[in-house]
């Protein structure tokens, strides 16, 4: 599963999207309403409790419960009251009219999750993703006015879905972690990045104590699967297959309006993780020593210098503090 550090050198960086934003609130128009089935009103009505009184609060409570009833249920909760609480339309019965809203509710939230997790949807396939989303919606109904954070629990949800995801569980959770990091970075505050010129102002004698403070629009993730490679293949339309487990790491960050993903080697990730956690440069190098030992002693200084340049040039750091 992914581990996350809030917050190229190895494998380069990949632009995610420079312009397109996920649109949430525009889910209002009922574009997501699906065609209403022309089923006759059921003979046996679903009456789960007494007829609500006609107060505004009771009507809203009844209506909301009906609309949020999973579509796996044949009828909305309290549907037996529809005939008395709603009018018949020119062509649709009260329950059929109510169903327009129930279908729209689920379709809209599934579409929201699809916006956040397009690669996960591709990996699982339409039916499995749809089922995952419906279970998610039932477990994590939206409680706020904004949809930006609606999908925030998907990683944990994938981990918990032992039965439905089976062997895909770990991969799905890793991929969801990558995609959610992208959502978080889009919405993270925009910080003025530290520049190479700014870095050059740090006196040489203070380098050991320097703390490079990561920008807020930065996430560092470790995975059990190579999900960044999978995601790029998905974006390129290469119809990737589910990969075998293989440890990997990536940084997700935003520079101005542009979102980037950067593959990282274990050594680069270890050093960047130590820096992002607020350690001084010297302590970070010590902490990453084991990982850095993978690099030959001759190459290490040049490699580390090159990483620093890339990371700073990429805008991963906001400023330099001193321990």
């Amino acid at each position: 599963m992914a581990s996350v550090t809030a917050g190229g050198a190895d494998g380069g960086k990949t632009i995610v999207d420079s312009v397109v934003e996920r649109e949430r609130a525009s889910a209002t128009p009922v574009a997501r309403h699906k065609r209403l089935a022309h089923a006759a009103a059921p003979a046996h009505a679903n009456i789960d409790r007494a007829l609500p009184d006609r107060s505004l609060c009771s009507l809203e409570t009844w209506f909301a419960r009906a609309v949020m009833t999973p579509e796996s249920e044949a009828e909305p909760t309290g549907s037996g009251h529809a005939e008395r609480l709603l009018t018949r339309g020119p062509q649709l019965a009260p329950l059929e009219r109510l169903e327009v809203y129930r279908r729209a509710y689920h379709a809209r939230l599934i579409e929201c999750l699809l916006d956040d997790y397009p690669a996960l949807a591709h990996a699982l396939g339409e039916d499995a993703f749809d089922a995952l989303c419906r279970a998610y919606i039932a477990r994590h109904p939206s409680t706020g006015p904004n949809l930006n954070s609606f999908g925030r629990s998907m990683v944990e949800f994938c981990i918990s879905e032992v039965n439905s995801l089976g062997v895909l569980r770990g991969f799905a959770a890793d991929l969801a972690a990558l995609e959610w990091a992208m959502v978080e970075v889009i919405h993270a505050p925009t910080a003025q990045p530290l520049t190479l010129a700014g870095l050059a102002e740090v006196p040489v004698e203070r380098w050991a104590d320097a703390q490079l403070v990561a920008t807020t629009a930065f996430r560092l993730l470790r995975f059990d699967y190579p999900v960044n490679i999978y995601f790029q293949a998905f974006r390129d339309g290469r119809n990737p297959k589910i990969p075998e487990p293989a440890r990997s790491a990536a940084a997700v960050y935003r520079s101005g309006p542009t979102l980037w993903r950067m593959d990282l080697t274990e050594a680069a990730c270890a050093l960047l993780q130590a820096l992002a956690s607020g350690q001084s440069l010297s302590t970070s190098l010590e902490e990453a020593a084991a990982a850095l030992s993978e690099i030959s002693q001759d190459d290490a200084p040049g490699r580390v210098t090159s990483w620093f340049r890339d990371w700073v040039a990429s805008g991963l750091f906001a400023r330099v503090d001193f321990a």
Partner: protein, 282 residues
């Protein structure tokens, strides 16, 4: 007749959509104004605001929200209102609108424009909340008539009466969505002219048009595709009744390239005697 709030007729605007950001920022097309979905720029401190700032610098902005939930029996969300005001201050938005609806209750949000039962109780409830919002914002709120797919059996009035009385009691503005009138008229079997006849058009500060999806037995307000002629005709009628108002096209699914979308919006001029975009008095 100008609107009683002295809000300007901004001309023909477009709903700002992310797929058009690049075109707008690269070539600054001549668009009278943009309507933003307020909620898209709330609960974020990042990229959405980057684009919003750049666009608001060049174009008049109007805010259109979807989550105020003015009809809910849950308390008004003060944090939401504070953010709404923040976005308005950031953009210098000419006015703020939302829908005559509720979006959730008991702490759960359906993210849909759910229908109100048009009762005296609901009228008092919503009017009080509109006044609260207006006091908070220090400006009139414009409420939009939603498309609806049900009506409540216990209603004591129809939507047009409710909206007219609400506007009067709360002293709020109206964003008249003529496509929604068309959609609801089909779904509930009423005449759009009956709706128009009941409205206080001096409170109409903005008009919406959009495409919809006809399913035979009912119409869904999908905001897909071009506006049908019957809706354009209704727009012309509403425009004349209002003595001119800012007109806006909403297109939210299968959105075409910017120029095509804008060209569709500009069709409003054909149905308003070429007057949309001009200050015009009857």
């Amino acid at each position: 007749m100008a609107n009683r709030f002295d809000l300007p007729n901004l001309g023909v605007g477009l709903g700002l959509r992310t797929v058009h950001y690049a075109r707008i920022l690269e070539s600054h097309p001549a668009v009278d104004w943009f309507e933003i979905i307020s909620d898209n720029y709330m609960q974020t401190a990042g990229r959405p605001l980057y684009y919003l700032d750049a666009i608001a610098e060049r174009y008049p902005i109007v805010m259109h929200g979807v989550s105020l939930s003015i009809g809910s029996t849950d308390p008004l969300d003060q944090a939401y209102l504070a953010e709404l005001r923040e976005v308005r201050n950031r953009t210098g938005a000419r006015w703020v609108s939302d829908h005559l609806c509720w979006t959730g209750v008991a702490g759960k949000n359906a993210h849909d424009l759910l229908p109100m039962p048009y009762t005296e109780e609901a009228l008092s409830h919503v009017a009080a909340r509109v006044r609260q919002v207006q006091d908070f914002l220090g400006a009139p709120l414009a409420l939009e008539n939603p498309s609806t797919y049900v009506e409540f059996a216990g209603a004591s009035m129809r939507e047009w009466e409710f909206l007219a009385r609400l506007a009067d009691e709360a002293n709020c503005a109206i964003l008249l969505d003529v496509n929604n009138v068309y959609v609801s008229a089909f779904n509930h079997g009423f005449d759009p002219q009956t709706y128009f006849d009941a409205l206080p058009f001096d409170r109409v500060v903005q008009l919406h048009v959009a495409g919809h999806t006809h399913h035979g037995t009912h119409i869904i307000d999908s905001h897909i595709g071009p506006v049908i002629d019957d809706v354009w005709t209704l727009l012309g009628d509403a425009y004349r009744r209002a003595g001119g108002a800012s007109v806006l096209l909403e297109w939210d699914a299968e959105i075409p390239p910017f120029d095509e979308t804008h060209a569709e919006a500009l069709r409003a001029k054909e149905f308003t005697g070429g007057r949309a975009g001009q200050a015009w008095r009857a």
